[in-house]
């Protein structure tokens, strides 16, 4: 009986580090599962404007309203990146690009700690705040449509 317990204890001690380490693997996750069309739709809205510079400035103002500090921005490429530190780090990138001659596409993606954010509510909250600052209505986009 004692031997059994001793063996159990030894096995637990031997495998615990392995079990803990197996909780996360350290593969270089460069090519993660391709973003689904659904997620791309969740992350994208279109707006009836052609003023990309204003759209980027509004994105920066919205991110600041939401507690982010802007890390980087590029008017030519239409990108803004920002980080929110609130016990954990949330990083967001917003890209703005023209679609056709009358509208722009705004896409947001985020990571929380070490994971990509795919929660639709998170993006919904962002675009609600962004649309208010843009004084424009956001249109949902069909991710399968050409140009997206």
């Amino acid at each position: 009986m004692f031997a059994n317990r001793f063996i159990t204890f030894v096995l637990c001690m031997a495998f615990t580090p392995a079990a803990i380490l197996s909780g996360c693997n350290s593969a270089p996750k460069v090519n993660e599962a391709e973003v689904s069309l659904k997620l791309r739709s969740i992350q994208t809205r279109s707006y009836d404007t052609t003023n990309a510079n204003n759209a980027l400035r509004v994105a920066m103002a919205t991110l600041q309203d939401l507690g982010f500090v802007i890390d980087n921005a590029d008017a030519d490429l239409g990108t803004v990146s920002a980080t929110k530190l609130d016990n954990a780090a949330t990083k967001m990138t917003i890209t703005v690009r023209a679609r056709g001659k009358t509208e722009i596409l705004v896409r947001a993606n985020a990571q929380y700690r070490l994971h990509a954010v795919d929660d639709p509510i998170f993006y919904q909250q962002f675009f609600t705040a962004y649309s208010k600052s843009m004084f424009l209505e956001a249109h949902e986009v069909d991710a399968a449509a050409p140009g997206l």
Partner: protein, 185 residues
């Protein structure tokens, strides 16, 4: 029979133990539902972080801000003139006398070495934007910091919300611009 039962029970306990150990290997990475929500109204935060200057020269405002931030010891990390953005940071000691005294006391009483803050990176971004009537420039600065302890672990990630810090920044910016700052609602 009893022995087999004991083995099964032991196996079940071991299995549960390994599953729990595996789960603790990864911290929760699900974004909290309130990650984008602020604890105070956006207007109040904006009043603290933003000011309006009666000028149309956005470039001059960014240059004045960069000079001021250099005076405060920050290094420029990034800038985008077309978007009125300036990103700066500085690395400083985060050693606090009280924390160190606490560390020594805990070590003497309990024989345990407690970690204390050692280094910090303070980051700030300044964003300028012409006002809606194009007669003034709105400036908004935001500060945050990351703190590492003496074991090299990140111990704090936080926004800096002290109103005095922002007030002090704008008093100095107003002096540099020779302009009076107005609050932005």
């Amino acid at each position: 029979m009893t022995s087999n039962f004991c083995n099964l029970k032991q196996l079940a306990v071991m299995g549960l133990f390994f599953v729990l150990a595996g789960l603790t290997g990864c911290a929760s990475n699900t974004i909290p539902p309130d990650a984008l929500l602020m604890k105070e109204p956006a207007t109040e935060i904006r009043q603290r972080q933003a000011r309006r200057y009666a000028t149309t020269d956005e470039k001059q405002v960014i240059i004045a801000a960069s000079q001021l931030l250099q005076d405060l010891g920050f290094n420029v990390e990034n800038s985008a003139k077309d978007l009125g953005l300036l990103v700066v940071s500085k690395d400083r000691s985060a050693v606090d006398g009280g924390q160190v005294a606490g560390q020594i006391a805990v070590a003497v009483i309990f024989g345990v070495r407690m970690s204390v803050d050692k280094e910090q990176k303070i980051r700030a971004s300044v964003v300028t934007c012409p006002s809606a009537d194009r007669k003034a420039i709105d400036v908004r600065v935001t500060f945050q910091r990351l703190v590492w302890d003496d074991r090299g672990q990140l111990s704090k990630l936080e926004r800096l919300d002290d109103p005095e810090m922002y007030q002090d920044f704008y008093i100095k910016l107003s002096k540099a611009l020779f302009l009076e700052a107005q609050e932005v609602g």
